[in-house]
Every structure is written in structure tokens, then in C-alpha cells.
Amino acid sequence: MRDVLRFLTLRFLWLLATLWVVFTLSFVLMREVPGGPFLMEQQVDPVIQKQIEAAYDLDKTKWEQYVITLGKTVRGDLGPSFKMRDYTVNEILAEGMPRSVALGTLALLIALVLGIVAGTVSASRRGGFIDRGLMLVATIGIALPNFVIASILILVFVIQLSWLPAAGWGSLRFMILPAFCLGAPFAAYIARLTRTGMLETLTQDYVRTAHAKGLSPWRVVTGHAMKGGLLPVASFLGPAVAGILTGSLVIEKIFAIPGLGTYFVQAALNRDYTLAMGCVLFYTLLVYVMNLLVDISYTILDPRVRLD
């Protein structure tokens, strides 16, 4: 138990260091990119421009800005958004997060269920017709841009069949199409990785032993091979979960979903420094936690790997 505690403490310290590095790098990058948050097509009088910048501390030197922003961030205050000026970044993230989590969870469920089932079936029917068919579908899931898939699904399920709403946010009905589009490429990856991993483990001695013991193929696959076979999937899941939970700009745009995905890109394009920083830090945290879970899951799935 003490081992685990030590491991977690160490990881926490690493997290703090990572956050600081990411903060600093992002800060420098953002300020070096041309353009600014209050540059507009309709140019305002230089006097007013200066006043706006002063209101957001942008008139100070970069060092002063860095110290001020870092201080506020440490206290958990990400500051006001530069482009949605009625809100603070904390409010924007807090409002977007449940939506992204809801959509992301649904997408993840779809991806995991479809991916693992397809991958396992395909591995145990290696080379057969089912294998080829499933892998073909999975590959198409990877090969087509998600906006093409989304447009086709809208055309079929919304316009032709009128089963689902075209876009927007509200009940579960609104989430089905976007969650599917969001999860589809992940499902395809998971299917392929599962298949590969399963094939690898199916040739291992302990699996052969299980076969030899006379266990049914189903028991062999789910009871013995599955654990080792899911290793590559677990490795992939860390970044995948972070990616799926933060959503996608394209999907959010097509389905008009007010989630976090748009901010990641839009804040950068708008030079909304505070919101962009909030997104980056949030994402760092998410990736970090997910990878931690992956590392822990490694020790569970593969007894040879130790927590260290």
C-alpha cells in the first residue's frame, strides 16, 4: 500500500511540474504568434485600443503578464475570457465540460463496445469472411474524414428518415449522431488494435495450454487471451479518452454542440489567451490522469509489468 502511495505522490509532483512547463511554453508561444485578442476588422481609435488592452493587463511587459497570470492560475483563477467577455474561463469550462463528458462518454462506450467486439471476433475468425468484412468496415471508419461520415448520416437519418434532430443540444436524441461520428474512428482503431493484440496472445503458450485443457474457444478468448490482447488498446486509450472527452471542432460545428472541442481551436484562432490557456491546462490534466490510469491498468492486465 505504501508503494502505491509513494507512486501516486511522485506522479502528483510530476503533474505539477508538467503543468508548469506546459503553462510556460504555451504562454510564450501565444504571445509570439502575431495578432492580438482585440484586433478587429473595424479598427478603433488607438486611444480606445490602448484602454481595452490596459483593462486586460495587455499593456504590461510580458514578464509582468507572465507573473500575474501564473499567480492567478495557481490560485485557480484562469481570468476573464477575451472573446466571450461576459464570462470567466472557469465558467466557460465548467459549462462546457458536462456536455463534452456526456457526449464523450457515449462516444467512448460506442467505440469500446464496437471496437473490442469487432476486434475479438475478427481475431478468432482470422482470415475468414467475417474477419475481412469487419476489418473492411473498421478501415472505412478510419479512412473517411468524419465530416463526410457526418454529412451522410445527417442526409439519411435526419433529412430522409426524420428519425433524429439535425443539430443542437438537449436530450439523448441529440447526442446519438454526433457521438457515433465522434466514436467511429476510435472504434475502428480499437478494433484493429484489439485484433492485433489478440492474435499476438493467441499464439502464446498459456493460451495454447488453455486450449489443450479443453476449454471452449469462448472461454479461452474471454478468460485468457483477452487480458493480454487488450494491452495495445489500453495504451491507446489514454490519449484516446482525452481526445474523445475534449470533443472535436468539426463534429461540434456540424451538429452545433456547445462543448469544449471548439474552444481548443477557436480560442487559439481568436487569440483568446486566457481561454486557450485554460483549455491547454485542462487538457494536460486530463491526458495526465488518463495516462496514469493506463499505467495502472498495465499492471493489472500484464502481471509482468510493475508499478514503478
Binding site: V33, G35, E41, Y87, A166, A167, W169, K253, I254
Partner: protein
């Protein structure tokens, strides 16, 4: 043993995460649709009328606030709103507004002249940093106050001799000033709420406005719901009970929602479907006060390009070799008007001088003449800068191909995201750049004064003392006809100097369902929700909702 425990904990936490997520996923419930739902292109930057400049913000602010006057639904005329009447002194410098005794804020308190005095002073205050403050700088002392030269707010030319009289003193007459009193920067805000909740007054739980509607719900980038303001002085004539504004960025998505009956009014449509939409009754593009044009950098950092673009014949040749008609008919296809001048048509009493029409042969001749005059064997390679958008790209590709074909120019395209584009343009690092300009008020001046030397919106480096003089003369002229005459002369100068390359005048692109009554096209494309109503029977018959 220990591993088992970890494994269990892991499985448990993973399961818990999934369950919680699924829980959130299923709890969201659809809300009852509003009487009217419309497509507002983006999440408003703010609900503070002093701090915003955009079109989507305008749609929202016109519902939540009222000005002294309100723009008529079908023209640019100013109708009484919070001010029941007004008069203008003979020298055109003093406006006296009579505030309605029945004007109320949405919390029931009276809306008086003092509110306007407070709000206008706030608009001009340096710490407000209002981007649109300059529009109202005709008010005596306002400019000096914003710029910090005048410290005492009481010296700004606004006063409330009694709660129902609001007096504005201008430093010089401004014929279009009355239009500005219907424009959102001049709206009044509720002082008590602002002072009690300086950071949160625009949230639904605190919001107090004096408009026909008030804010019931605001979900970031999801929905804004307005409900009728029972205290509004004209509440008896406001027909809609609830209105939803959906901030939908993609107009293709908005069109899908419109066609499936989820929204009743879209404010923009994708270019691909314009020909199909034109066959419908609910899509009627009408002229709009706006122009699409190309800026030419005449202050180029590269000396060769500076000489090249500084030569008026080069600029004229570029203009002549650009097939505006083809762009309107083949690319935008919504009936946009090919532009041969700068001020859009549709302004009463103003007639623009015109440039010659598309003429590639003459263009080639001019370009040859210019090149030999400049002693250049060939024109420099240059690029057209545009911000990322389908239509901009298509137009740039057409222009590029035309200039290549008719003038033999080597033209590159340079695509940038919005902020880089703005930065490149305003720092004169471009050659040719696409641009648009929407009139702030219905007067030629809003399309002309930006070309004055040193104006922050000029951004071409073009400078003509005669032009500058004409604009100043016009701003001091009280007689309407003489003033418009001076402006027309100024425009003729700008055209003769080919300050920019006009391409086309915008049209509005609204899709409006027939059950929306009281909706009228107007050149500023401003539609106050106060005038709209819904024919529910018709809607039920058509889509069953």
C-alpha cells in the same frame, strides 16, 4: 491480494466514470420550443451595449434594450421608442428628447433621462474602453473625454434638466445623428444593477433591461431565451411571448435546422444552395448596405511593389480586368450587385459616380502603359490575401485566373485565419487583400470617411488631400443636398484614384418562414423582434408544431 484490490478499485472507478457519464448523458431534457427561434451566427461577445460591435450582438441587444428611437421595420427611418418625441434646434446642434413617462426597466423601476446621461457618459468613459464610442463623438466634449483630455464627465454635452427631458449638444451638426440613437451603443443600461453586480449584471439572474424582451436563460453557445418584458412601455403591442436565439456557427447546420422545422429564421445560407433556395418563396435576397472589395496596399514595404501598386493605371487595370458580373452570377449567385462605385445604392438622395465597366482589353493596354512608364519589364509577383472562408477563396481563385489570363500577372493566393489576416492587413504586409464593409448608419459618410488620410480603417496607404478636404467640408454642411453633393464629389475622387477595387454590394440572405408576420427586408438588415408575430395556425398546418 493487493493486486486484486487494485484491480477491483480500477474496475470500480472505471465503471463509476462510465455510469456517471451515462447519467449526465441521459438527464438533459429538451425544453419547450419558443414562439420564435432564430439563427444567430455566434455567441455574442457581451451583452454590454457599450462593449460590442458585431451584427449578432445587435440582434440580441435590440431585444433586450431600447434606445431613444427605434429603426422602422421596413426602412431606415427612426421611430419614437423610449423618447416619445424630439426636436432639433435650427442650427442642428441641440437635440431635445422627451422621455416617455411610461418607460420602465424590466424590474419595474422608471427609465428616465438620467439613465441616458449615465449610460452615455459611461460609453465615453476611458475605463469603459468602448469600441464604438467614436461613432458618437459628435457629442460635445465626448472625444476629449474618451481620450483623457477632458476629465470632468459633467462637461460632456448630455444633460437631464428633468427626468423626462434628455438634451444632447453636438459640437457640429450631424445629419445622421438621429439614426445613431436607434443603434445599440447609445442604449441605456440600468445603473443600480451595474453597480450592485459589476461582473455579473449580464447574467439572467440579475439582468435588467428596458427592451421589449428580457433575458430568461443563457447557456453558452447553446441558447439564449428571451421572454416578453411586461414592463416595456409598448408591451401591449409585443406579440411574441418567448424567443430563442441559437448561436450556430455553421450556416449549413442552420439550414438543416431550418428545413427540418427546428428554427424559423436563418440569417445566412451556404453559397452552394443559393440557386435552389431562390426557387423558394421564403428566400428573398434584398440589397444591403455593404460592399465586398479588395484593398490594394499602396504603402508596400517592397519598393518595387510600392512603385507598382502606387501607379494609378495599375490599380485601374486590376479593376478593369476583374469580372465582377461573373463573380455575382457564377460564384455568390444570390443577386449581389456588381460594384462600380463604393457607396452602396439605396441611400435616399445620393447618387454615386460610376467607374467604367469590365474591360479586359483596355485593362491590358493600361497595364502595358503603366509597366513601360515604370520601366519594368514584367510585373512583380504578388498575392491576394484572404481570410479562411469558402466564398472568399472561390472569389480569389476567379480573380487570380482573370488577372493571369488578361494581364499575364503571376498572382498567388494567401489564405490566413482571421487574426493573422487582420494583423497582416493592418501592418501593411499584404499586396492585395479582400475586405468587406457594412454601413453603421444609413448615410454615404460611413462608406467614405474611412478613406481619409491616416484613418485606422483606410489600411491602403491611399491619400488625397482634396478628398480629405471634401469629407471635412461635408461634415460641416447643414444643407442636406449640398452635403450629399460634396460626398459624391469625394467619392468621385476616391474612384478616380482607384483607392480600392470594388467587387460587389451585399444582399441580405435571410430565410424566413411564412408564419412569421411583420418581418420586412431593409437595407441595414436589422429586424427588431418587437415588430414580429407568429401565425400559429399556419405553422401548425405547415409543420404540425
Amino acid at each position: 491480494m493487493r493486486r486484486d484490490r487494485i484491480r477491483n478499485a480500477f474496475a470500480f472507478s472505471l465503471g463509476a466514470i462510465l455510469l456517471i457519464g451515462a447519467g449526465i448523458a441521459t438527464t438533459g431534457a429538451s425544453i419547450e420550443p419558443a414562439d420564435l427561434t432564430f439563427h444567430n451566427a455566434t455567441e455574442p461577445e457581451s451583452l454590454d451595449p457599450a462593449k460590442v460591435t458585431g451584427v449578432p450582438e445587435g440582434r440580441v441587444l435590440r431585444a433586450l434594450f431600447s434606445g431613444l428611437t427605434v429603426q422602422a421595420p421596413d426602412s431606415s427611418e427612426s421611430l419614437p421608442d423610449i423618447a416619445e418625441s424630439w426636436n432639433i434646434s435650427p442650427n442642428g446642434k441641440v437635440y431635445t428628447f422627451r422621455i416617455r413617462k411610461t418607460a420602465r426597466w424590466s424590474d419595474g423601476s422608471p427609465c428616465t433621462a438620467d439613465d441616458f446621461v449615465y449610460s452615455w457618459r459611461r460609453l465615453f468613459a476611458p475605463e469603459t474602453a468602448a469600441k464604438y464610442a467614436y461613432l458618437m463623438w459628435a457629442v460635445d466634449g465626448a472625444e476629449d473625454y474618451t481620450k483623457g483630455k477632458l476629465k470632468d464627465a459633467a462637461k460632456i454635452g448630455v444633460a437631464a434638466p428633468d427626468p423626462y427631458t434628455f438634451v444632447v449638444k453636438l459640437r457640429e451638426p450631424q445629419s445622421y445623428f438621429i439614426y445613431l440613437t436607434a443603434f445599440y451603443p447609445s442604449y441605456a443600461v440600468h445603473r443600480a444593477t451595474l453597480e450592485a453586480h459589476p461582473k455579473h449584471w449580464h447574467k439572467p439572474e440579475f439582468f435588467v433591461g428596458n427592451g421589449p424582451f428580457t433575458l430568461q436563460m443563457r447557456l453558452i453557445r447553446e441558447r439564449m431565451r428571451f421572454v416578453k418584458n411586461e414592463y416595456y412601455w409598448d408591451a401591449a403591442n409585443v406579440k411574441l411571448e418567448t424567443v430563442d436565439a441559437l448561436p450556430i456557427e455553421d450556416n449549413g447546420t442552420a439550414l438543416n435546422l431550418y428545413l427540418t422545422g427546428a428554427i424559423d429564421w436563418t440569417t445566412d445560407v451556404p453559397a452552394h444552395v443559393v440557386p435552389q433556395l431562390l426557387q423558394r418563396d421564403d428566400f428573398k435576397p434584398t440589397p444591403r448596405l455593404g460592399i465586398y472589395f479588395y484593398r490594394i496596399n499602396q504603402n508596400n514595404k517592397d519598393p518595387i511593389k510600392k512603385a507598382f501598386f502606387g501607379e494609378p493605371r495599375v490599380r485601374r487595370a486590376l479593376y478593369l480586368a476583374l469580372d465582377r458580373k461573373a463573380i455575382c452570377e457564377r460564384v455568390t449567385r444570390a443577386g449581389d450587385v456588381p460594384a462600380r462605385h463604393i457607396v452602396p445604392p439605396g441611400l435616399d438622395g445620393y447618387e454615386s459616380p460610376k467607374l467604367p465597366d469590365y474591360d479586359p482589353v483596355e485593362a491590358a493596354r493600361l497595364m502595358q502603359a503603366a509597366l513601360s512608364h515604370l520601366k519594368m519589364s514584367k510585373a512583380p509577383t504578388f498575392s491576394i490575401l484572404y481570410n479562411t472562408q469558402d466564398t472568399h477563396k472561390l472569389i480569389a481563385e476567379v480573380v487570380q485566373s482573370g488577372w493571369r489570363k488578361h494581364l499575364g500577372l503571376d498572382v498567388k493566393l494567401e489564405n490566413m485565419e482571421w487574426q493573422s489576416y487582420l494583423k497582416t492587413e493592418s501592418s501593411f504586409e499584404y499586396d492585395i487583400s479582400r475586405a468587406g464593409w457594412i454601413g453603421d448608419y444609413p448615410d454615404p459618410n460611413t462608406f467614405l470617411d474611412l478613406w481619409q488620410t491616416g484613418n485606422g480603417n483606410n489600411r491602403t496607404g491611399w491619400s488625397d488631400p482634396d478628398f480629405d478636404r471634401l469629407i471635412v467640408l461635408a461634415s460641416k454642411e447643414v444643407d442636406v443636398r449640398k452635403r450629399l453633393g460634396l460626398l459624391a464629389k469625394a467619392e468621385a475622387r476616391a474612384l478616380a484614384g482607384q483607392v480600392v477595387i470594388p467587387i460587389y454590394f451585399y444582399v441580405t440572405k435571410n430565410c424566413v418562414r411564412p408564419w412569421i408576420k411583420g418581418w420586412h427586408a431593409n437595407v441595414q438588415d436589422r429586424h427588431n423582434l418587437k415588430f414580429l408575430s407568429i401565425d400559429k395556425d399556419l405553422r401548425r398546418r405547415m409543420i404540425g408544431r
